[in-house]
Every structure is written in C-alpha cells, then in structure tokens.
C-alpha cells in the first residue's frame, strides 16, 4: 500500500515537473524546426515538415551574419572577462582569508556591497566615456569584471580556508614569497574552485542582457542577447526563425549544463549560502 502510494506520488511529481518545465523547452525546439506557416500557429504540435537546415541558414545569414558576429563578440567578452575575474578574485580571496584584520574587514564590506548594490548606470557610462571605453568591447569587459568580482572573491575566500597554511610556510622556507608564492604554489591548488567560478560566471556573462544593452549598444558590436532582443521585433512574423535563434543561444549553457551540472550547482549553492 505504502509503495503504491509512493509510486503514484512519484509519477504525479514527474508528470507535473515534466509539464511545467519541459513543455516550454519542447515548444522552443519544435517551433524552431517548423516551416513558417505552421510556426505562425504558435501551437504545441508535431512539425509537418522539417526545414531545420533552411531555418538555421536563414537565421545565421540574416542581416549580414549578425548572429555570427554576435557570437564572436559574446565569446570574446565572456572568455576575457572570466579569465581576469578568476585571477583577480583568487588573489583577493587569498589575502582576504590569510590576513584577517582591518583591511580584510574593509574588503569584506566592499565585496558584500558589490553583491547588494545596484550599479549606477549613467555615471558608469559617463566614466567609460571619459576613458574612451564606452561602446567598446574592452569597456564591456571591464564592466563585467567589476560587476562579477564580488561573488567570485567569496567563493575563492571560502576555498582558500581549506588550503593548509603549512603550504605557505613551506614555500616561504624555499624563499618563495609574495606574488611568486601565490602564482607558483597557491593558485594551482585553487583549480577546483577556479573551474566552478569559470562555469558559473561564464553562464552569467554569456546570458547577460542588461550590461550590453547599456554599455555596448549598436549593431556594430552586438552580443547574442541583444541580437535576440532585436530579432524579437524583426521576426515578429517568422516565429520559426525567432525560435531557431533562441535555440542557438541556449546551446552553450546547455552544453555547460550537460557536462558540468554538479560543478555549477555546487558553485551556485556555495556562493549563496556563504554570501
């Protein structure tokens, strides 16, 4: 009796989760591979024909291959800013954990502020303009670094606590100090958390819509998210193409999810609980 109820409950939960969470994704996928007229019905049905390649080609070729250019920009921004975030945050997290005191309390306060305070948009634009970086890819990279640092520092600081101090001492006996000590001895040990930070931050930056909207406007350096946003009005009658675009943009996070699900979940929960 108990097991029967359990099985019933289990299948009910499965069905419900399936409907609530899987139907929207199936809808995206199905609409993306339909032909134009059928997609325009916007219903949840099996495709009558499968113009997958045609849809794909049309989306990619649209507006002078803007999607490809956007992909290049997005990947560039993501890779470069995540690289800097990992190194900068590891350095800061390490000192913060190893040298408690006034400076670290201040740093801790700043990190928490960075997590909570909404960035002041227009003053940031003004400042970037003064630096000649507004509407440039390096400008957006700086913004992404600054806005994502705090979270990464927290993760690194927590992880450094588990690295024995003896290692620092031993390295110092060998005459290895300061930056050299950090990069030669400590940084390689932070690999696991560095991977976690890389994954979670990459997903966040790749999916970021607000910052490119403000700091990198214009078609010349579109990112995938802003491109999708402008396709929304351009393709308002070609739903198969719009959804093909959505599917293409969902692929990178999907890959990250398939291969590194556990790492990402671990990173996000650790950051949340400790923050």
């Amino acid at each position: 009796m108990r097991t029967l109820r359990k099985v019933a409950g289990e299948s009910a939960a499965l069905v419900l989760a399936g409907v609530v969470f899987l139907v929207p994704f199936s809808f995206m996928l199905l609409t993306a591979v339909k032909d134009g007229p059928q997609a325009a019905d916007l219903d949840f049905s099996w495709p009558t024909s499968w113009p997958v390649v045609e849809n794909l080609r049309e989306v990619v070729e649209a507006r002078d291959y803007i999607l490809l250019r956007a992909y290049v920009n997005s990947i560039l921004v993501t890779v470069v800013s995540v690289g800097f975030i990992v190194v900068f945050a590891a350095m800061a997290g390490y000192v913060m954990q190893r040298r408690p005191g006034r400076v670290s309390s201040l740093a801790n306060f700043l990190v928490l502020s960075g997590l909570i305070i909404p960035p002041a948009i227009v003053p940031t634009i003004w400042l970037l303009q003064e630096l000649g970086l507004f509407k440039t890819v390096p400008g957006l990279i700086l913004v992404e670094i600054a806005f994502n640092l705090s979270y990464a520092v927290l993760l690194f600081r927590a992880f450094v606590a588990a690295v024995p101090r003896d290692l620092d001492e031993a390295a110092m006996m060998d005459g290895c100090t300061g930056w050299r000590l950090f990069f030669r001895v400590i940084f390689p040990l932070l690999r696991p958390v560095a991977i976690t930070v890389t994954l979670t931050t990459s997903v966040a930056i790749f999916n970021d819509f607000v910052n490119p909207l403000y700091f990198l406007p214009g078609d010349d350096h579109a990112t995938v998210q802003t491109t999708l946003y402008s396709f929304q009005s351009q393709y308002s009658t070609q739903w198969n193409l719009l959804f093909m675009d959505i599917v293409l943009i969902t692929i990178p996070p999907l890959l990250a999810f398939i291969f590194f699900n556990r790492k990402i979940v671990a990173g996000m929960t650790a950051g949340a609980v400790k923050g």
Binding site: E10, I116, P118, I249, V265, G275
Partner: protein, 311 residues
C-alpha cells in the same frame, strides 16, 4: 584602496590579538602582500565604487553627459510626484516580495520532494535547475508567446479545465504578476538546489529522534526540516529579494513596463529615463533603488542571521 604592503604596527596589534611574534608577522606580510588586492581593487573602484558615489551628486543635476546643472532635489520631487514613477516604486516592492515568497515556498517544496528517495529525483533536479542557466531574454520571448490570449498554450491548457484565460500580459491587472510567475519559473531551480544542500546537511539523528517520538512526515517537516534549513531560507530570501528589486530584463522583454505604466519597476524606469536622455533623472532613479535595496536588505539580513544563530 591603495594598500601598503606593510601596514603600521598599531593597526595590526589591534586586529591580531595574541599570536605570532613580530618577525613572524612581517614574514606573513611578505607571503601575502596586500598588493594582491590591487588588480581587483582598481577595477572595482573605477568601474563600480566611483560611479556609485558620483551618482549621489549627479542625481541632483540636470545632466547631458557633457554638462550638468545643479537643480537640488528637483529630480527626486519629479520622481515622487509623477504618478507613473510612484507606480514603479510600488511595483518593485510587489515584484520582489512575490517572487522571493514564491521561490521560498516552491523551492522548499521541491527541495523536500527531491531529497526523498524518489528514483527520478536526479533527473528532476536537472529539469528544475536548467531554466536558471537559460538566457532571460529567451525565456521572456517564449513565455510572451505561451501567454498570448486564447491561442497561447497557457490559455489552451486552462480551457481543458474549463477555466477561461485572459490577456495575461496585455491587461493591467495581470501583467506584473504574470511576469513575476515567469521569474519564479526561471529562478526556482536555484532556490531548490540551495534547499537541497541545506536539507542534506541536517544530521539524520534529528529525524530519528522524531521517529522515536512517533512523529510522521508532517512532524518531521515541522520540527526538523523547516527550522534546520533556516540558513537556506535566509539565503533564498536575500538572493531573490536582491534580484527581484533590481529585476529588469524579464520585465523589459515581456511587457516593457506596459500596458501603460502598469508593470513598470524602478529598473525599467531608469532605463526609460536614460533612453529619453534624462540622465539626471535616471541617476536619481538609481539612487532611489540604492536606498530601497539598502533599507530593505541590511536590516533583513541582520534579522535573518540573528534568527539563524538563535535556532
């Protein structure tokens, strides 16, 4: 934060307490020089801290980016006199409270469900978590389609149960709440995994104690799971409140604050004022949001932490 690599002895004496001797400490300074803070600090200050501080001044000006004219509190007066901006303030609070409340409820439910011995719980965890990783713009567009009146999938599904749907995003009564529900759909996965981590860290002995007293599932939840996963609850509440108060992308892709001003929030107002070229006013909106977030989050996190220690 320009940091000297060897801070003065006085400041260290206070912070370090009894411990290593002077030479040892000097060695530690050499091992972990404060200059390691430098790269992070430079970016943080230039791109984040300085603009935040400047916002307080520019919110008091009429500003073209090239020149600014001091106008006192006029921007803030505009903000609180203008009916549309007041709606935005109210909507921001509603949106943040509704999304974080629902994320706690559903996150806890799913967390309990997915830590029980379901054979499919691994798969379900993935399914529930995946939306967290998907682009908000993509989710917004997809749900705008699903929520269309009559022909949308949601209304069609409701029709199966003889419930008549409505123009979810196109009518003033439902627009904000519809977007909030989509936000919950997208974000509940994170709340769920936080709860799962919290629940799994509860020592089994507590459950055994309840079992000895003859308590059932409800007792287990009431006396063990819920109180002992309090750290998870406080994380979920804080995270989703911070996110909810700042929320912009989903609202902007789904309703652009419409119809009329009925789903405007502070962040969408900041963007609209920016688009209109009202830079001073937009910055004033930023300051309002800053104050709102600080006034809500600081006391709340203090309260939640205290409760955490107490329990």
């Amino acid at each position: 934060m320009v940091v000297e690599s060897r801070p003065s002895a006085g400041s260290r004496a206070k912070s370090a307490g009894p411990g290593p001797t002077r030479p040892a400490r000097r060695r530690r300074g050499a091992a972990q020089p404060y200059t390691l803070y430098l790269p992070a600090a430079v970016v943080y200050f230039v791109i984040f801290a300085i603009p935040t501080a400047m916002a307080f001044y520019f919110s008091l000006t009429r500003w073209t980016l090239f020149e600014s004219e001091f106008v006192g509190l006029e921007n803030f007066r505009d903000f609180f006199e203008d009916q549309s901006l007041r709606i935005g303030l109210q909507n921001t609070l509603i949106y943040a409270v509704v999304t974080s409340g629902l994320k706690v409820v559903f996150g806890l439910m799913l967390g309990v469900l997915l830590t029980s011995k379901l054979r499919t719980s691994g798969f379900l965890r993935s399914v529930v978590f995946f939306p967290v990783l998907v682009s908000t713009v993509a989710v917004g567009i997809t749900f705008s389609v699903l929520l269309r009146p009559d022909t949308g999938l949601v209304d069609k599904a409701l029709a199966l149960f003889c419930v008549s749907g409505t123009d979810w995003l196109g009518s003033a009564e439902t627009a904000l709440l519809s977007v909030a529900l989509v936000d919950v759909w997208k974000g509940v996965g994170l709340a769920t995994v936080i709860y799962i981590a919290g629940i799994l860290s509860i020592p089994p002995s507590y459950y055994e104690a309840v079992a000895v007293d003859g308590g059932g599932a409800w007792q287990r939840f009431r006396h063990v799971t819920f109180p002992l996963s309090w750290p998870a609850t406080s994380s979920v509440v804080l995270l989703s409140l911070i996110g909810g108060l700042r929320s912009f992308d989903l609202i902007w892709t789904m309703t652009r604050g419409g119809p009329g001003f009925s789903s405007d929030v502070i962040a969408s107002i900041i963007y609209k004022q920016y688009q209109a070229g009202f830079y001073g006013l937009s910055t004033a909106g930023n300051v309002v949001l800053f104050v709102l977030v600080t006034l809500l989050i600081l006391p709340l996190s203090w309260f939640l932490n205290r409760k955490e220690v107490a329990s």
